[in-house]
């Protein structure tokens, strides 16, 4: 009888990937947890609070992350990408490219002494460009693993300069300029794909003025604005640094074009309203929506509680945002086809939840199917199983969903992965 390989490969170390790897590791399995970024935690760690109970996201996730880091069975591979997979369920061989970090995880103690001397300053994409970072950086305070990486795309050394600023500031020989991309091969019995999502680019829906007007923000930008560990330490402000007197929350940006409801936007925009009321006394909040989607037992209560604080809700079509003297002006057609217009200081858009750009690539490597939207396709009555045996999909890689759904999918996928690799 052919022996099955009991190890498990998990691609994507966001909430779903973390949950799946903890479950597999608890069962005593070796887990390779792949993460493209130098940090892990996915999109969830960008939030300050989580609806409907407005719990602190870091408090929820950090213990899980430490569990991953401390678990002997889990090998977290940051800056890593899947290159190739061969074999079949019970016996896959995966080739993984480990990008050079240029910082030794063994030696680095996370003191952060290297940031200041680095002469390069670029937009911090983790913070949606709201703050700057150096070429050697960590995504945000508290990001894990607590060690920086050098972004060679911007490092002066890449341009041939012999800058040694970070190396000289490091007392622990943690900077490895000659670090190389490496390839490793792992043998596993099952694979779980949890590559997550990205927010759609709102600038393609030109009527919203995103990227055109400075105070039109996309959801994550607003989220980071509110984050205690974010660029403004949690102060919500317009680009000129003053708190906005009025904020408009725009639902369903790009839904029609995409052809599906992203499920989470109605609720996270409600959460944004809560942020605004909480942080800016007297702020006016408008929401422009088409259909309200707040499924689930706890959510309506949350929605109504926040509504009570005075959200001005407008069912609207044909929204157009323009810049006016006093700020931004929203022109719209309401539910009864009447035109209206409202001036606000800040607009927050809820663009569609889209498959992570990596997903297509992963699908190709794994030889699994995508659906019409580019999400990974799953089986009827087994919504986490791909069309290829031994490969499972959890989280937003398969469909936009809530955190709790990502968690249950991860648990489901982990269970099936454990089962299939059982002798």
């Amino acid at each position: 009888m052919e022996t099955k390989n009991k190890d498990i490969l998990i691609i994507g170390a966001g909430l779903a990937g973390i949950e799946a790897s903890l479950l597999c590791a608890r069962a005593g399995r070796k887990v390779y947890l792949l993460e493209k970024e130098p940090y892990f935690g996915g999109s969830a760690i960008k939030s300050e609070e989580v609806f409907p109970l407005m719990e602190c996201a870091t408090c929820m996730l950090a213990p899980k992350q430490s569990d991953v880091l401390e678990n002997k069975n889990i090998e977290l591979l940051t800056l890593s990408e899947l290159q190739e997979v061969q074999g079949e369920a019970g016996n896959f061989t995966a080739r993984i490219k480990k990008q050079a970090r240029y910082v030794s995880l063994e030696n680095c103690i996370g003191c952060g002494a290297c940031f200041e001397p680095c002469p390069v300053e670029i937009d911090n994409n983790f913070e949606e460009g709201l703050s700057k970072r150096k070429a050697i950086y960590i995504a945000c305070a508290g990001a894990l693993p607590n060690a920086p990486a050098i972004d060679m795309n911007y490092c002066l050394r890449k341009k041939g300069e012999d800058c040694q600023a970070c190396k000289q500031s490091c007392m622990f020989d943690a900077i490895l300029y000659d670090d190389k991309d490496r390839e490793i091969t792992v043998n596993v019995g099952a694979i779980i794909v949890a590559t997550g999502f990205k927010l759609g680019d709102a600038s393609q829906y030109t009527n919203y003025g995103y990227k055109k007007f400075k105070n039109v923000l996309s959801a994550f930008e607003f989220e980071r604005l509110r984050a205690s560990n974010g660029p403004t330490t949690g102060i919500i402000q317009t680009k000129d640094g003053s708190p906005p007197d009025s904020i408009a929350l725009i639902h369903c940006v790009g839904r029609k074009e995409k052809g599906y409801c992203s499920q989470v936007c109605c609720l996270y925009l409600t959460k944004f309203a809560h942020y605004a009321f909480d942080k800016i006394p007297g702020v006016k909040v408008y929401q422009f929506y088409k259909e309200l989607s707040i499924p689930g037992k706890e959510n309506e209560h949350f929605y109504k509680e926040i509504q009570k604080k005075g959200i001005n809700s407008i069912r609207a079509e044909n929204i157009e945002i323009i810049e006016a003297d006093s700020g931004l002006q929203i022109n719209y057609q309401n539910g009864n086809n009447k035109n209206g217009s409202i001036a606000v200081d800040m607009v927050v858009l809820a663009p569609p939840i889209e498959p992570h750009p990596e997903t297509r690539n992963i699908a190709r490597i794994l030889n699994i199917e995508l659906d019409q939207f580019g999400f990974l396709k799953t089986q009827p009555f087994n919504p986490v199983e791909s069309n290829r045996a031994g490969i499972y999909i959890a989280g937003c890689a398969r469909e936009p969903n809530f955190m709790q759904e990502a968690v249950v999918q991860a648990q489901d996928a982990a269970g099936q992965a454990l089962n299939i690799t059982e002798d």
Partner: protein, 140 residues
């Protein structure tokens, strides 16, 4: 010897201790006279710990835990709140320096807030002057 006020902070492991770590990581300033005791949950803080600290001359006591609803153990901080409210009420009734005890909710991401709260508290305590019990003979 030590002229600075003494402030003791009880921090819950999951939120406030993490916030303190984050404050350190972010090199935010936190008063040097605050020394912290890690407990697993704010509900572990027995009010008698605080009484003991008071009577032995602590100038301030800070108890910090997860925000209500965020408790790692579901409901611990609600119990903590009741216990400390009771203690504060007793101290208030006898007017024995109730303000030297503070109950704050600080989440794991609020390193900045940790820094602000502790600095503000330390400033308050400094202005309030030393705990009168510190040098009071025979009270205890």
């Amino acid at each position: 010897m030590q002229t600075e006020p003494t402030i003791i902070g009880f921090l819950c492991n999951w939120c406030s201790y993490a916030a303190a770590d984050l404050a350190g990581n972010s090199k935010l300033e936190v008063p040097g006279n605050l020394t912290t005791i890690r407990v697993m949950c704010s509900s572990r803080v027995d009010p008698v710990f605080i009484l003991n600290a008071y009577f032995q001359g602590a100038d301030g006591v800070l108890v910090a835990g997860c925000h209500p609803g965020d408790c790692h153990y579901q409901t611990g901080n609600y119990y903590a709140r009741r216990r400390l409210a009771l203690l504060i009420k007793i101290l208030q009734t006898f007017d024995i320096e109730p303000k030297r005890l503070r109950l704050s909710w600080i989440s794991a991401s609020e390193g900045q807030r940790f820094s602000e709260i502790t600095q503000e508290f330390a400033k308050f305590i400094k202005e309030a002057g030393p705990n009168p019990l510190k040098k009071k003979p025979f009270f205890e």
